[in-house]
């Protein structure tokens, strides 16, 4: 249920941006979410939809752009993995360090002007 706080924060940002631009309605919110965040998209959308009721973001769609895990392997360089691992997805070596995959940001909003 950690998506609840995230959904509330998304709604706050969307509403304040929409108000700043005198928008009538928010129709869609694009997010970038890294796999390290362990966000369940369906749960996030469900909670957002619930919280947005009665606000200018009611019915807005959440469009989630997933950010893969980025690992740097000593043996074979930089690599990406679609799901979580502490091993190199290519050579299975453990000499890896994680360099990305923890984004949690709003990219853009679609509004009715």
């Amino acid at each position: 249920m950690h998506e609840l706080g995230v959904a509330a924060e998304i709604l706050d940002i969307a509403l304040s941006e929409a108000e700043r631009r005198a928008a009538g309605k928010v129709t869609s919110v694009r997010l970038r979410v890294g796999v390290l965040r362990s966000i369940e998209p369906e749960n996030l959308s469900f909670l957002f939809e619930h919280l947005a009721r009665g606000t200018p973001a009611e019915g807005a769609l959440l469009e989630i752009v997933e950010e893969p895990l980025r690992v740097e392997c000593e043996a074979c360089g930089v690599s990406e993995a679609p799901s979580f691992t502490w091993e190199c997805p290519r050579c299975k070596g453990t000499g890896v360090s994680v360099t990305g995959g923890d984004s949690l940001s709003i990219l853009s909003l679609d509004i009715e002007s």
Partner: protein, 223 residues
């Protein structure tokens, strides 16, 4: 203008921005007063409160320790800590599964921190939500007891990536459980190459003095 008649506006903003702002305010408050703060995170029952008690014993007579306890419900932990005669506040988070930085900030503003040198914040017991929300701490400590299993760094990656110290607890129970310490060490280092790893048993005393020495040295860096 998009084909559907709507306008797309670029925002590029962190979803955790307001939490980050509150955390920055905590960091400023701590810096001004030269207080070193630890944010303790683990599953329920891994030994956070026990570590706090060991730290209180270590700093006894040296003074200056304050504690903030986070739990969904009850004052049980605060009452346990209060018996040691230190300043302690309990935050009940109810439906929220972590301490919010805004809440911690207002609690700190109410406390008398004039003599405080070390602040211990015990977060709500879980490995998910507390990992996402910085509290302005100087160091984040994740505790993992050997009874929980050695796959935890794989299942809860973020907390292991963002912690400065990993404390493997209850190592006196290793003969009775399946727990590969090296597997945890490898995964934790992949998550965060700079992580400092300690293996301890609070009941048997193993490894505790090394951990307490390290925390005392860290605290001294902020004198």
């Amino acid at each position: 203008m998009r084909p559907d008649g709507n306008v797309r506006i670029d925002v590029e903003r962190s979803i955790l921005q307001s939490a980050d702002e509150a955390a920055a305010a905590i960091r400023a408050l701590l810096a001004e007063r030269r207080i070193y703060a630890l944010n303790l995170i683990s599953s329920p029952g891994s030994g956070k409160t026990t570590l706090i008690e060991a730290l209180l014993a270590r700093f006894e007579g040296k003074g200056g320790v304050a504690v903030v306890e986070g739990d969904i419900e009850t004052e049980i932990d605060a009452e346990r800590i209060r018996k040691h005669g230190v300043q302690v506040r309990q935050i009940n988070t109810r439906s929220t599964c972590h301490i919010q930085p805004s809440r911690l900030l207002s609690v700190l503003r109410e406390m008398d921190l004039s003599e405080t040198r070390l602040l211990l914040v015990e977060n709500v017991g879980n490995l998910v939500c507390p990992a996402e929300v910085p509290l302005g701490e100087d160091a984040r400590v994740v505790l993992l007891s050997v009874t929980e299993g050695d796959e935890k760094p794989l299942k809860y990656p973020l907390v292991f990536r963002t912690s400065d110290l990993l404390v493997i607890t209850k190592i006196d129970l290793l003969p009775y459980v399946t727990f590969d310490v090296d597997r945890v060490r490898r995964a934790a280092r992949a998550a965060n190459p700079a992580v400092e790893i300690f293996e301890v048993s609070a009941t048997a005393g193993a490894g505790m003095s090394g951990l307490l020495d390290r925390i005392e040295a860290l605290r001294a860096t902020k004198n």
